[in-house]
């Protein structure tokens, strides 16, 4: 939990704002996501994963800072760049990797693949492949929480590209009018495929869109889980207390192309290097060491443990069977004897 922030000054050494456990858990989660994504990219190059693969490398602090600031019972929904968010929710790397491999043991039995993980147990309402479609759906999940009288919130995440969909405006308006417990988070990684934020609107600071609906809205540094955690804690508190929606624009960067097939020629190497210099994992690692919260040895142990976990996940995925063809007709209707048209 947060302790009072102390102003850092040159004379006085900066003190950690959060507990050792908190820093280590951010470090571990971000590392888990990064290693998972790297392993996924490798498996894709070996054609063990097919279709679209959108990785989260560079954006790990967003998932880490959100998860530490919300409750397990809160709901989360996002788009197709979702492995990190799902793992943050607690989806195991085994189940996630097996899903990417299209295996029966995947989180969704190999039916969803990279873009669609869902886990009711983890209150994870999925990865949506239609840009912006999850914005009204997340608003509806929040609607149900209010209807049922809980104090849960729904974190509804979307990209900068999705912020240009009409569905966002309709959702913002209804959520504000009906004071729904929804925390909107735009993960602004500055590009929607090859299109920069500046090329799609005159409103370059996406958080300002919320202001048109009188929704409390602010920008956040997304390259550090501390700043994400701080902002999300504050926003979640506001939403949870019944004061209605909140909008955070979390600024981050994807190091890789949009998906595996995108060479990302639309941006400069310098820009990428600028963000890499602020790498969230390196930042937190340095802070842990600076604060003396753990030794380099301890961090090395964590790294080794994570690497072993990811290797195990890949092996698990590899050794698992594919779903049987008859699975096609499962999970289409709840009705068990639905009469499919089979010829």
């Amino acid at each position: 939990m947060a302790t009072t922030a102390r102003k850092s000054s040159k004379s006085k050494k900066e003190q950690p704002k959060y507990s050792k456990e908190q820093y280590l858990s951010w470090y571990e989660l971000m590392l888990r996501i990064r290693r998972f994504e790297e392993a996924a990219l490798l498996a894709y190059s070996q054609q063990k994963i097919r279709g679209f693969l959108h990785v989260y490398i560079g954006e790990e602090a967003v998932a880490a800072g959100i998860e530490s600031a919300i409750r397990r019972e809160d709901a989360v929904i996002t788009a197709y760049r979702q492995h990190g968010t799902a793992i943050g929710r607690g989806v195991s790397t085994r189940a996630a990797m097996a899903e990417l491999f299209g295996k029966k043991t995947g989180i969704n039995k190999g039916k969803g693949g990279s873009m669609h993980f869902f886990s009711a147990k983890h209150r994870y309402f999925g990865g949506n492949g239609i840009v912006g479609a999850q914005i009204p759906v997340g608003t509806g999940i929040a609607f149900a929480e209010k209807y049922k009288g809980t104090d849960n919130i729904c974190v509804t995440m979307f990209g900068d590209g999705a912020a240009r969909q009409g569905a966002l405006h309709e959702s913002f308006n209804m959520a504000m009018t009906w004071q729904l417990p929804v925390l909107y988070i735009c993960e602004n990684n500055h590009y929607a495929m090859g299109t920069s934020v500046a090329r799609t609107s005159n409103v370059h600071e996406i958080y300002k869109i919320g202001c048109a609906y009188e929704m409390p809205s602010e920008p956040v540094d997304g390259m550090n889980p501390e700043s994400v955690h701080e902002a999300v804690s504050r926003a979640a508190e506001h939403v949870r207390s019944g004061k209605g929606p909140y909008f955070l624009e979390i600024n981050t960067y994807r190091y890789k192309g949009h998906s595996v097939s995108d060479p990302a020629k639309y941006r400069t190497k310098e820009e990428l290097m600028q963000y890499r210099a602020k790498d969230p994992i390196k930042t937190i690692e340095a802070r842990i060491l600076d604060f003396g919260l753990a030794s380099a040895e301890e961090l090395k142990d964590i790294k080794q443990r994570i690497e072993a976990e990811i290797q195990d996940a890949v092996r698990f995925a590899e050794e698992s069977p594919y779903p049987d063809p008859e699975e096609l007709y499962e999970d289409v209707y709840v009705q068990p004897d639905y009469p499919f048209m089979k010829d």
Partner: protein, 329 residues
Amino acid sequence: MGKILQLREAIREGMVEEMRRDERVFLMGEEVGQYNGAYKVSKGMLDEFGPKRVIDTPISELGFAGIGVGAAMNGLRPIVEFMTWNFAVLAFDQVVNNAAKTLNMSSGEFTCPIVFRGPTGSAGQLAQQHSQTFESWLGNAPGLKVISCVDPADAKGLIKSAIRDDDPVCMMESELMYGYKGEVPEGEYLVPIGVAAVRRTGSDVTIVSFNKMMIQALKAAEELAKESISAEVIDLRTIRPVDYHTIIESVKKTNRLVVVDESWPLFGVSAEIAYEVQKFAFDYLDAPVIRVNAADTPLPYAPTLVEAWLPNPEKVIRAVKQVMYVPAN
């Protein structure tokens, strides 16, 4: 003699020629300009025509489809590209409620000469939301014309006809087939909307198909030939209006029909063709019409399920043998 072009190049050539010919034609969509198209169909077009006529849009399908409709009502001839037709679902209000109905609602006061185009159908392991065909959805709406083809020459000739057409036209392409090569005639080349093509002549059975399922149908026909079964293969090319004449004439000759269609089976193109054939060639049929469709389910990600879901040459061969009362081996 012609030249060999990929499907994407043929569509591009058609658009480029029409844009050179007619100032009113412009292209609009996600990533069509600076990125040269998500599937490189519009490669180089921004360089030639500039940002006034090759327009990158935000991810706002409903909005830019509607902007296209308005522009068409007011004297321009837009080509609206959807990155795939799966995303055009957001824009169906504008396609179906406006483009398709403008002429009728306005009793002819306004036309809506617009082309909506993009890839349709599954493209490997892209899972539920990215693996749908929309020919029967669009074909269902009076006011629209619907093209669906993968042969490069057809695609070029048909996109040109579509751009010149005074009615709204939906052009269904294919992600997996953009690299598919074929011979395209040199010079001005137009293919009329509403005319099917006989791809292979035969006498024992008619196989009707369109878009990338044509390839499966042709492969099946080749295999069948080895067993001395002669299949006539018809490429619909246009879904609305359907060229019933070519189908009926073929069935009168072969007396047997198999329809291969990647759409879901219910209420689809295959159902419509079977209806028409039983009505107009009833006395010529020696067996019930059989269709080969995608499974009646969404398409999941796993390779085993993709395999089970899609029509393939084996399934087509099985269907042909069924209508011929030949035991499958």
